[in-house]
């Protein structure tokens, strides 16, 4: 096994509030190898964004309790001085966000904003940085890039803005790109364009990508590995084939069963009953137990650990592996 690019060990991010401690991320460990794509899926409030914001050092340490280790190329990002973190951020790790309108500054020209990122990390002239910005806009497929670089964000459409964000994130050729719901605000046709672009640039720059999304279709099409999060914990990890054809955790089953499919027709959807838990009062034992149709006494007492199923595939569930294999065959994969 080569040295992982990013290794997160037992990460915990807790926010103390008036009502109690919000356990947004509660003991998460994972690794990303150079050049691979990791998909992170989960519903709102599952901790998927917070864990990567912590990796980027974007969580205010005054208002949150952060524990664990975030090793990026062997360096613990949770304990480096601010200046060093600043040098890594943008330079070695790039990030794009869900809403491209609010993440670009409305008062500055798009080209200048990209050039500013380059200037912050490299000792080159403003003119050179400007030329690099135009070149990046061209590489992300923006027509007439030199003209576009002189325009303001409001003159761009949603898809174009997201392209500009990608240009900015990749302008320093980072080793890791964190994409937090990059296409949620966009139309499907534009989503397909953007995801294709990320795929293409990834192979061109050999960047590792962490793709955070709630859309199981997006991860199926674009990710090598997938991790499913629920209530601040990882509940299942595996290759795309593991998660879609051999899922071993009732929450993953619930997700797969509740989405309407374009490729099959059925009379009724099978939603997961109930609501996601409050992160202040996470249920005792398995956090999914109030919504799980296969719950038994042990689930209320003991937190299931993420145990290997085979190879890289691991799941956190107390049901015996044989029972789960049977349920998957009989109930989950019956759709198509």
């Amino acid at each position: 096994m080569p040295e992982p690019l990013l290794e997160v060990k037992d990460l915990r991010v807790h926010f103390p509030t008036e009502d109690g401690i919000v356990k947004a991320v509660d003991g998460v460990s994972f690794a990303i190898q150079p050049g691979e794509t990791l998909g992170v899926v989960g519903e709102s409030g599952s901790g998927k964004s917070v864990s990567f914001l912590t990796v980027m050092g974007l969580i205010n340490r005054k208002s949150a309790i952060v524990e664990g280790e975030v090793l990026f190329q062997g360096q613990d990002l949770l304990n480096v001085p601010k200046e060093e973190l600043q040098a890594i951020r943008g330079n070695k790790i790039g990030m794009i966000f869900q809403d491209p309108m609010t993440s670009l500054h409305p008062f500055y020209k798009v080209g200048d904003q990209i050039a500013e990122t380059i200037l912050a990390h490299e000792d080159i002239s403003k003119k050179e940085a400007g030329a690099r910005a135009v070149d990046m806009l061209k590489r992300v497929g923006i027509p007439r890039p030199d003209e576009r670089a002189r325009q303001y964000p409001h003159e761009f459409s949603g898809g174009m803005r997201q392209r500009a964000m990608i240009a900015m994130a990749l302008s320093l050729n980072p080793d890791l790109l964190i994409a937090d719901e990059p296409t949620t605000a966009l139309d499907v046709t534009v989503q397909a364009q953007i995801l294709d672009l990320i795929d293409r640039l990834q192979s061109e720059f050999n960047t590792a990508v962490a793709l955070i999304t709630h859309d199981l279709g997006v991860v199926a099409e674009h990710c090598d590995y997938i991790q499913v999060m629920y209530a601040g914990r990882l509940v299942e990890v595996g290759t795309a084939d593991d998660i879609y054809y051999r899922p071993m955790m009732p929450y993953t089953w619930g997700l797969l069963k509740s989405i309407p499919l374009l490729t099959a027709q059925e009379d009724r959807l099978h939603p997961i009953r109930g609501l996601p838990p409050s992160l202040i009062h996470v249920p005792e034992g398995c956090p999914f137990n109030p919504r799980c149709p296969y719950v038994f006494d042990r689930c209320h007492v003991e937190v299931p650990q993420l145990l290997p199923v085979d190879g890289f595939h691991a799941a956190a569930c107390h049901l015996s592996l044989d029972d789960r294999k049977r349920i998957v065959q009989e109930e989950v994969l019956q759709r198509t």
Binding site: S44, E221, Y244, Y245, S258, L261, T263, A264, E266
Partner: protein, 377 residues
């Protein structure tokens, strides 16, 4: 092309049922003005630009399209929240294109709307009881002393705890708020409910709960839905028929199965191929059409077929035929698409599309042989 084939198929049997809603040549233009005192009209946003549509009682008509194609404006026109610029709107056999005042208010009893954003569509200062009870107070259909009972019955119907009558919207989750919105729309027992992206703000597991609820209510009260969404898999699940809209016009309408099995308009095909399929093997088997560029501005829509500047079909045809412009540069479209506007023509029973060169391929691998892909049965 398959024009001869299409002509050979007998015209679909005319449905004997009267449509609940009928639109004929409906246009909604928003004027663009310059100047503060003497406002001159300098142009118009052609949000809805000549739409013919029928919605039959008890059915769900899905309406899909990208942002800015005019689907929400069309919904608001049907609700008479916008006045029509041109055209006619019939509801329940009656011309309601110009009704005003009291008549309009009475009309609204029969049509209600469920909105996209469950956070913005409920007044945060009102209790749930008063939100759901508002239609009763406005229309006076239920005596004051019975409003509470009726509201609690509605809450139970949509799966809310009736004891939460005095709670405020912020105490509910997104999915529960959408249930409140549904309960409010049901209060007056309408015939038509216009759902404008009712589940796009919800998480997948909650989305399925709301979709099932809408389906149950339709069966119980014989409701008719106009269901607007940009998610083609959701539309496929709920709709009986589907219309696809592009830049203010309907480009294709068909029975659900017919549309998904064989989309005829290249735009429908492109939309379908863009939907991510949650199955790695099927995803690889899917035909990929990546549309270039964005939806053009509805202020000055392209000539001929509005889709021609982005259409992969006309691009392929022009390339195949080696078409060039007067300077010898390769053309990116067939001249007919640029010059002549296509009208909706029959493409099979109950299937119409507005295209000069309709598609004849399957986009989604629906009945892929499991043996062939190696996917487990």
């Amino acid at each position: 092309m398959s024009t001869t084939e299409t002509l050979a198929t007998p015209p679909p049997a005319k449905p004997t049922v009267e449509p609940l809603v009928r639109l004929e040549g409906v246009k909604k233009h928003f004027p663009i003005t310059r100047g503060i005192i003497f406002q001159r009209k300098v142009g118009a946003v052609h949000a809805v630009d000549g739409v013919d549509l029928e919605i039959f009682p008890g059915e769900t008509l899905g309406l899909v399209g990208e942002t800015g194609c005019g689907k929400s404006t069309l919904a608001r026109v049907v609700m008479r929240l916008h006045n029509l610029t041109e055209g006619k709107l019939w509801f329940n056999g009656r011309d309601v294109s110009n009704v005003k005042g009291r008549e309009l208010r009475d009309l609204r009893r029969d049509m209600q709307m469920v909105f996209q954003d469950p956070y913005a569509s409920l007044n945060p200062r009102k209790t749930v009881g008063s939100i759901i009870g508002a239609p009763f107070r406005l229309h006076g259909t239920v005596p004051k002393n019975r409003v509470k009972g009726e509201v609690q019955e509605l809450m139970e119907l949509v799966g809310l705890n009736p004891e939460h009558y005095n709670r405020y919207p912020h105490e509910f989750s997104g999915g529960q708020r959408q249930r409140i919105g549904v309960a409010r729309s049901l209060a007056l027992r309408p015939k038509l409910i216009v759902c404008d992206e009712p589940v796009s703000a919800l998480d997948v597991s909650i989305q399925a709960q709301i979709l099932n609820l809408l389906e149950d209510l339709q069966n119980e009260f014989h409701l008719t839905y106009l269901f607007i969404a940009h998610d083609l898999s959701v539309v496929k699940h709920v709709s009986d028929r589907v219309s696809v809209m592009y830049l203010g016009k309907i480009v294709e309408t068909a029975e659900r199965d017919s549309l998904y099995a064989q989309p005829r308009h290249p735009y429908t095909g492109a939309l379908m191929s863009a939907v991510p399929v949650p199955d790695p093997k099927l995803a690889k088997a899917k035909r990929r059409i990546i549309l270039e560029g964005d939806v053009p501005s509805p202020i000055d829509p392209p000539s001929g077929c509005r889709f021609h500047p982005r259409c992969p079909r006309t691009q392929a045809l022009a390339k195949e035929q080696g078409l060039t412009d007067e300077h010898g540069a390769p053309l990116r479209f067939v001249p007919r698409c640029h010059d002549e506007e296509p009208f909706l023509t029959d493409q099979g029973p109950g299937h119409t599309a507005a295209c000069h060169f309709p598609l004849d391929v399957r986009i989604i691998p629906m009945d892929i042989d499991p043996e062939e892909t190696g996917a487990p049965p």
